[in-house]
Subunit: 452 residues, 2 copies
Amino acid sequence: MPSASPSQTPPPVHATAAILSVGDELSLGQTTNTNSRWLAERLTSLGIITVEHVTVPDDEPALVAALLRLGSIAQLVIVTGGLGPTLDDLTRQALAQAMGDSLVEDPLALEQVEAWFTSRGRVMPALNKVQALRPTRAISLQNLHGTAPGLYAVLAGADCFCLPGPPREMHPMFDAAVVPRLKPPPGRTVATRVLHTIGIGESDLATRLGPMMKREGDEGVLVGTTASGGVVSVRLRYEGPLAPYDADHLLEKHMREVRVRAGAYVFGTADDTLPAVVLKLLHDRTQRVGTVESCTGGLAASMLTDTAGSSNAFAGGLITYSNLLKQQLAGVDPAIFAPEGPGAVSRECALAMAQGGLERLQTEHCLAITGIAGPGGAVPASGTRPGKPVGTVYIARASRQTEGGRVSTDVRHFTMNGDRHAVRDWSAKSALAMLRLHLIGAEELKLLRQAD
Amino acid sequence: MPSASPSQTPPPVHATAAILSVGDELSLGQTTNTNSRWLAERLTSLGIITVEHVTVPDDEPALVAALLRLGSIAQLVIVTGGLGPTLDDLTRQALAQAMGDSLVEDPLALEQVEAWFTSRGRVMPALNKVQALRPTRAISLQNLHGTAPGLYAVLAGADCFCLPGPPREMHPMFDAAVVPRLKPPPGRTVATRVLHTIGIGESDLATRLGPMMKREGDEGVLVGTTASGGVVSVRLRYEGPLAPYDADHLLEKHMREVRVRAGAYVFGTADDTLPAVVLKLLHDRTQRVGTVESCTGGLAASMLTDTAGSSNAFAGGLITYSNLLKQQLAGVDPAIFAPEGPGAVSRECALAMAQGGLERLQTEHCLAITGIAGPGGAVPASGTRPGKPVGTVYIARASRQTEGGRVSTDVRHFTMNGDRHAVRDWSAKSALAMLRLHLIGAEELKLLRQAD
């Protein structure tokens, strides 16, 4: 029911933003909100400061109140969620109500929703028709990755974008339909850089960076570290009056300083991932790697193959979860598993797996991982020896030397901590880190959690 | 500067809660907010409904405004963050200002902060003294896991608890100091259930559930669906006057109704995951599965082995990324890759991979996946044929029949959409879903995105 009609004039600039997330699953704590952070990070990098994040349940009055309030405190409001086809999806109605507007069917949006189903050989369920509704003064935004179109409207003097909740639909729509319409404030430059490290802990890295990390920054450059999934990233941020070119120049200078202080632990910048960097190092040398995995059960191979173009540098792998398969597939000597042998979780076994894989996968390099991921169920029955607690992992690398065909090897013993998932993740990444250190000639570096 | 003095009478009951998170690192998107979800989940389970989550930066006026507004819309306000010793920690001041109160040093709190340092053989830095400040009408809450004491006060007629930001300090303080002071509404029970499905789309599922999903609920039970990573979950929620036992009984009745309507697509409840359910079905039959993966490169195996105890039902796998390894490791007939053959991405190749794996991995079941994950780099050079776009995936299952040793097979052709990551994820899950359907005798069911 349209009532008041707030300002329909769009703001001249987007200095501030507010992010509104919609959904019972978020407000009741059933799901972690990842959209909100993603959006704030993108906005910050574009020079727009997020002043408030709000999450409300699937409740129309709460949604309308939040829209109006956020539209009055920020120049840009980004809403995620509540655009689905079901009755608990209320963003369309709430936006219309907050705008003092009513809903109308958008013929082009309907066509696009229908086309989405048709292109997948399906007929659009009648339910999805409501997704083509929009306030009369709003614009529908095409969704190339799902059925829910987005919406753009002026709300209470702010520019308001409503995007679908699923990240794989929301992210591309933000890039395609929101970013081109953003108006970051002129005369203020925000520039950021990021460097990624692997194999060094956050506090050791902070110690190396020393005075670069002081709270007030150095030459206006703030430096911070964040750790995520074993990768410790160094974030540099400039916000001030410098022209963009000069700000970039300043940040590059500080980047060089970080590289000097952090050394070979730095593996990349921006969107670089460890697997992509390793694959590129291999590709540049026209070499390939294979994997032989026990406790990681395919995770290291999966990390490599999740990167586009991995077939240039990854040939294949063996998952030798049982000791029998370690022998049959990778050719590990059965004596290793004998009562007096070192067992499946040992330096000897890791090395034999890597050497066997090198031969059978016919690659220049092979990485092998064997360990105890916990919480107990995955301990190979005949491979457990006293003194091998959960988190004990041996990782081996074997490489064919380009000259003479000799095989060079490196085996390391790690003591991982955390749950099964963490031990596996860290093991797979440490294997990739070992290969990287070998390829760049920095094999002397010790990796985090390496015992010997 | 104390000004107005809002109501100092605590609410008789906590029917509703609001959660306020404080910190630039959250508002600017540098860190994911996990506290908010944790608190909402705990409150929901205690019968208290979270009506709004808010995140504000380290900004005193914004913090004061949020405190006053949330105190007026909810009976319970939980604040996290901003209690540290540095200048950007503003929760103490903001609370005092919102209460129309001033700050005073709490001698007991100071003693506890000092003791925290002493017990670690350190002297309290002068900076930390401010952490013992509290509004005169507030109570300090002891922090056993860090230096920041919490605060409790009545604010705008609501009970307000301020807790430290680090989860390992916040969680125990919530349990020790907040939970005993909570007043969930008597005579109101909140109970929730969740069922997970795989292989059916969200709108098709909603159509099957039909009237169960009506907005006002059925017998007080609200039913909603959420999709995450291909798994569509049905969430049931009861909130009302029934005794907990009766509410559980009612939800179980509705759970049965969902199971009837959604059929064999339902694979589990609560914390069940698809890999864990498949492993349990195998374990119950003392059978094991192996994998032969091309485009998923170890992802299906990795999903299985990420589950504790997987070694009981998973033996190992082959990652046959190159066509040469498909032949050498899995025994695929080279004729398949010949110019006139069906190629690496074909029904024939998937079937040969599954049959070869069954033999070489010596398991009762084998799953094989071959396809084009995109964006192009991973297309096997000799396996691409016209008419096989990115997202074309063939998945095969081969199983040894318990009687007679005969091999039963199932091959399906899928048309996946999304990026490389999505195609791989969906492919691995579809393979597990195919094995599950076979094990429960529902192999006739078609899976989402299955072309034929």
